[in-house]
């Protein structure tokens, strides 16, 4: 099977097959839906970044002079809600998962193509509705919606925002369901589980979390809405409820949800590293099973968000221990990627620089997660900028690097065009430097005691805040650059070959861009994942 699918050259690509907006909005082709997702999550990403820019500009001075206190609180609420639910959670699963999983396993489409399109409408509909409610209603609860602040004491359209997030939640559930069924039912002949690319494993694990955890969020949000609307006492102590119950339910969803955000990026990483190394991954089964381990253990550590919330001391000790356990599978992956580079045939393209960015930032984010899991240390740094830095290192640094890395890697496949490597590399380096300048000072700020979600702050924190805002400007430029050179490539970029990176994997054996049904003849898989020649010093054999 080393030849390309010859039939693919004869069929029109999925982009050229039909024309007109209508054919896009009513499409059931997983590749076109992926493009729809790409456009919408990019829009949400820019919106969320706008709110973040407001926050960072406000924090340049200790006084709260740019925004009103409520304006500031609304800005970070908008930022968190949009970035978590409308950008990060759908980003890799709905864009690259949709585009690649059927191709990677040799299928013609996802298992439920119409449901697939429907979940895109849920995201866009729910997202726009929430945005409207956030902007018009001025919701200032933070993305965490802690009770009783969100139920009894906040003005604004909390219920509307919650409804929007609830709707978008169903988009996640349906995407997860679709991926699970696709992987179970539609693998091409010969494509056994252990021949699948690791990207499929990690998206499978992600989907399990999506399907199991998101309903808990939905129930929790419904309960908040019920309390808000009908005064049913669930979380408000004055009505006989328990505010900590909300935190338990929320984190029971949200800790697994953080893995929804990072697992797909880890899957992308396994593809980027092997393709750059032109070598099979080191320890395939360890990397594959570690995704499942993360999905399972990730459900048992939510209490590490509540070490000072009033949870029982012994419960905290158990949650802390389990949090150390959940770090192991993440560490396994990092070590295996490093080992993959050993005796490799490395080519350093833009996407490999994003992979390096991922490793660097993910390791720092993961290690600081362990600092936070360290009970007595967390008592000090909980709810400070240390936490903010920790999760941005992972969710922004690493996960977005995974997203950008994937975008650069599969762009030729998705669009049929090559972009400028030079610009790609410049952007990657700027993102790496800008990111560290933005968020490293926040570890120090947090340890110094700067609480999060502060509109104004004591003067002696200013220096570090200014550093952070400067970094944010560099980072913003880094994030905007790909937008331009990638769009530019659509028109002026050279045609992409079918396998521009000399990579293995079914997606590189069809044309760039692929025909509507991916392969005209269902491929027969008689080779392992990452089947690179044993001594590939001169191209593929």
């Amino acid at each position: 099977m080393s030849q390309k699918n010859p039939a693919a050259d004869r069929a029109p690509s999925y982009l050229a097959d039909e024309h007109g907006l209508r054919t896009w909005l009513l499409t059931t082709d997983h590749k076109r839906i992926a493009i729809l997702y790409l456009i919408s999550v990019t829009a949400f990403f820019f919106l969320g970044s706008l709110a973040a820019s407001l926050v960072r500009i406000e924090l340049v001075t200790p006084e709260g002079d740019l925004l009103s206190p409520d304006g500031y609180n609304r800005a970070f609420t908008l930022h968190g809600v949009v970035m978590v639910w409308f950008f990060l959670i759908p980003s890799i699963p709905a864009v690259f998962g949709n585009f690649l999983i059927p191709i990677m396993i040799g299928a013609r489409d996802m298992a439920f193509p119409k449901l697939n399109l429907f979940s895109w409408y849920l995201l866009v509909g729910g997202g726009s509705f929430t945005l409207y409610a956030l902007l018009a209603g001025g919701v200032a609860t933070g993305w965490t919606f802690y009770t009783p602040l969100s139920t009894m004491f906040s003005n604004g359209h909390v219920v509307a925002v919650i409804l929007g997030v609830f709707i978008v939640g169903f988009s996640s559930i349906l995407t997860g369901l679709n991926i699970i069924v696709t992987i179970h039912r539609l693998r091409a002949p010969g494509m056994t589980w252990f021949r699948m690319p690791l990207f499929c494993w990690s998206l499978y694990a992600t989907s399990v979390i999506l399907v199991l955890a998101t309903p808990v969020l939905a129930i929790t949000l419904l309960l908040v809405a019920a309390e808000h609307l009908f005064g049913i006492g669930v979380f408000d102590p004055r009505l006989g409820g328990d505010p900590l119950l909300f935190q338990h339910l929320f984190w029971f969803y949200s800790h697994p949800a953080v893995y929804i955000m990072i697992l797909p990026a880890m899957g992308v990483m396994s593809e980027l590293v092997t393709a750059a190394a032109h070598k099979r991954i080191f320890g395939y089964s360890f990397v594959a099973y570690s995704s499942l381990a993360i999905a399972v253990i990730g459900f048992m550590v939510w209490g590490h968000h509540m070490f000072v919330a009033g949870q029982s001391m012994y419960a905290s000790m158990v949650f802390s221990l389990l949090s150390f356990l959940v770090a192991i599978p993440s560490a396994i992956k990092v070590y295996n990627w490093t080992a993959t580079l050993y005796k490799s045939n490395l080519t350093i393209d833009a996407h490999f620089l994003y992979a390096l960015t991922f490793i660097g930032l993910f390791v720092i984010g993961g290690i600081t997660g362990l600092f936070l899991a360290l009970l007595a240390a967390d008592v000090h740094v909980h709810d400070t900028y240390f936490v903010v830095a920790h999760f941005h290192y992972i969710m922004v640094g690493a996960a977005v690097a995974g997203f950008f890395g994937g975008l650069h890697f599969w762009w030729p496949k998705m669009t049929g065009r090559m972009y400028s490597q030079l610009w790609g590399k410049i952007a990657a380096v700027m993102i790496f430097c800008g990111f560290n300048l933005t968020f490293f000072p926040q570890f120090l700020l947090g340890y110094l005691g700067m609480p999060r979600r502060y509109h104004s702050y004591p003067e002696d924190f200013q220096f570090l805040h200014v550093l952070s805002s400067t970094g944010a400007a560099v980072l913003a430029v880094g994030y905007v650059m790909p937008f331009f050179y990638l769009l530019w490539s659509l028109r002026y970029g050279p045609q992409a070959e079918d396998d521009p990176w000399d990579a293995a994997g079914l997606e590189w054996r069809t044309s760039s861009p692929p025909p509507t049904h991916n392969f005209l003849e269902t491929p027969i898989v008689d080779f392992d994942a990452y089947e690179y020649p044993p001594e590939a010093t001169h191209g593929r054999s």
């Binding site: 206190p69 409520d70 609180n73 200032a140 802690y146 602040l149 004491f153 906040s154 102590p237 006989g240 328990d242 505010p243 900590l244 119950l245 070598k279 099979r280 080191f282 089964s285 360890f286 000072v308 919330a309 009033g310 029982s312 001391m313 905290s316 000790m317 802390s320 150390f324 192991i328 560490a331 396994i332 990092v334 070590y335 295996n336 490093t338 080992a339 580079l341 050993y342 490799s344 080519t347 350093i348 390791v363 290690i367 360290l374 007595a376 240390a377 008592v379 909980h382 709810d383 120090l444 340890y447 005691g449 609480p451 979600r453 104004s456 004591p458 002696d460 220096f463 001594e535 010093t537």
Partner: protein, 331 residues
């Protein structure tokens, strides 16, 4: 709170603070051992094995059980050692000593109210003597807040409807910042306080100058009469109500056949939600005071009831912080 231009490490005003710093540095050191190789090897491999370099690529491994086990087990054992240290520190910081002096804290949007045993009240400032364990008994009047002393490396959330505790023993006199660390609405970032750690003599001087004529319990006694509690619970009462003498810390038999220890949480509930736990043998005639008495009032009344004598069953004042009764973890 000196205004240095560039401060990179927080002040440390207690032994616990030093212990936390030590914990952080040793964990950093240990993690460096497991992380630095990743960074170094990634860069080394990326240079050495670039496509076209003339180095041996024979015998490429596809994986290795031994190697995998090494990088799973070693970091795990290492971090477990630090875990045990930090669990011990956490136990200590969650377990106030029995002889700690108790200060009452009530948080509301967006201020801190402190009250000393002698009845002295202060807002957004807290005076404490150096070298003496202090336990803060805390509750929120509205949403969740969190009292955070960076110089002591501690914080604890304050919940509506439930008491939580925070304790420390400051070793350095001085003024230190305190923040609200849990987002609580519009002026969250203005919810600041100052911790003033003084020598015992200065603290005594401050206590006597801050003009409290009545102790906490005496203030409670005034409320007890003012709100008409004495009309039912007093010695000459007509209504049939239990006597409150010797109640504190006693085991109370309830109407539904169960029993509870009459701790602070129980007394608070008895005043604000009297029908939640009805004393056996009495009618539910006591009105709820939840719209009349605020958390500070409840704390004073509780102090008064406590001053009426403590019961036989256990010593909850000294005991409850060490072994939180079930009420503390459940609503």
């Amino acid at each position: 709170m000196d205004d240095e231009f560039l401060r990179l490490w927080p002040q440390a005003a207690s032994d616990h603070a030093h212990a936390i710093d030590w914990l952080i540095w040793s964990f950093t050191g240990m993690m460096a051992i497991f992380v630095v190789p990743v960074f170094v090897l990634t860069i080394l491999f990326a240079i050495r094995y670039r496509k076209g370099t003339r180095v041996s690529r024979d015998h490429r491994p596809r994986g290795s059980m031994k190697v995998e086990m090494t990088w799973i087990v070693l970091p795990f054992i290492g971090s477990m050692i630090i875990y045990l240290v930090s669990a011990r520190l956490y136990y200590e910081v969650k377990t106030p000593p029995a002889d700690a002096m108790v200060i009452q804290v009530v948080a509301k949007q967006w201020m801190w109210k402190f009250q000393h045993p002698g009845g002295q009240r202060e807002i957004n400032t807290l005076h404490v003597p150096v070298g003496r364990p202090v336990r803060l008994n805390m509750i929120s009047q509205d949403v969740i807040h969190s009292l955070y002393f960076p110089a002591l490396r501690i914080k604890q959330d304050l919940l509506p409807g439930r008491y939580t505790a925070l304790w420390f023993s400051a070793t350095e006199t001085g003024r230190y910042e305190a923040f609200c660390a849990e987002y609580c609405g519009t002026d969250h970032s203005k919810m600041l306080a100052t911790l003033i750690v003084q020598s015992p003599q200065e603290y005594q001087r401050w206590l006597s100058q801050s003009g409290a004529s009545e102790s906490l319990a005496e203030q409670g006694e005034v409320l007890f009469r003012q709100f008409g509690c004495s009309g039912c619970h007093g010695p000459a009462a007509v209504a049939k109500a239990p006597t409150l003498e010797g109640l504190y810390g006693r085991r109370v038999a309830l109407h539904d056949g169960t029993s509870v220890i009459a701790d602070q949480a129980y007394i608070r509930d008895s005043i604000l939600l009297p029908h939640k736990q009805l004393v056996a043998g009495y009618e539910p005639i006591m009105p709820s005071f939840s719209n009349v008495i605020d958390e500070e009032g409840v704390l004073r009344l509780t102090a008064y009831i406590q001053s009426l004598g403590e019961g036989e069953q256990g010593e909850p004042h000294a005991d409850s912080p060490r072994n939180p009764p079930p009420e503390e973890t459940a609503p």
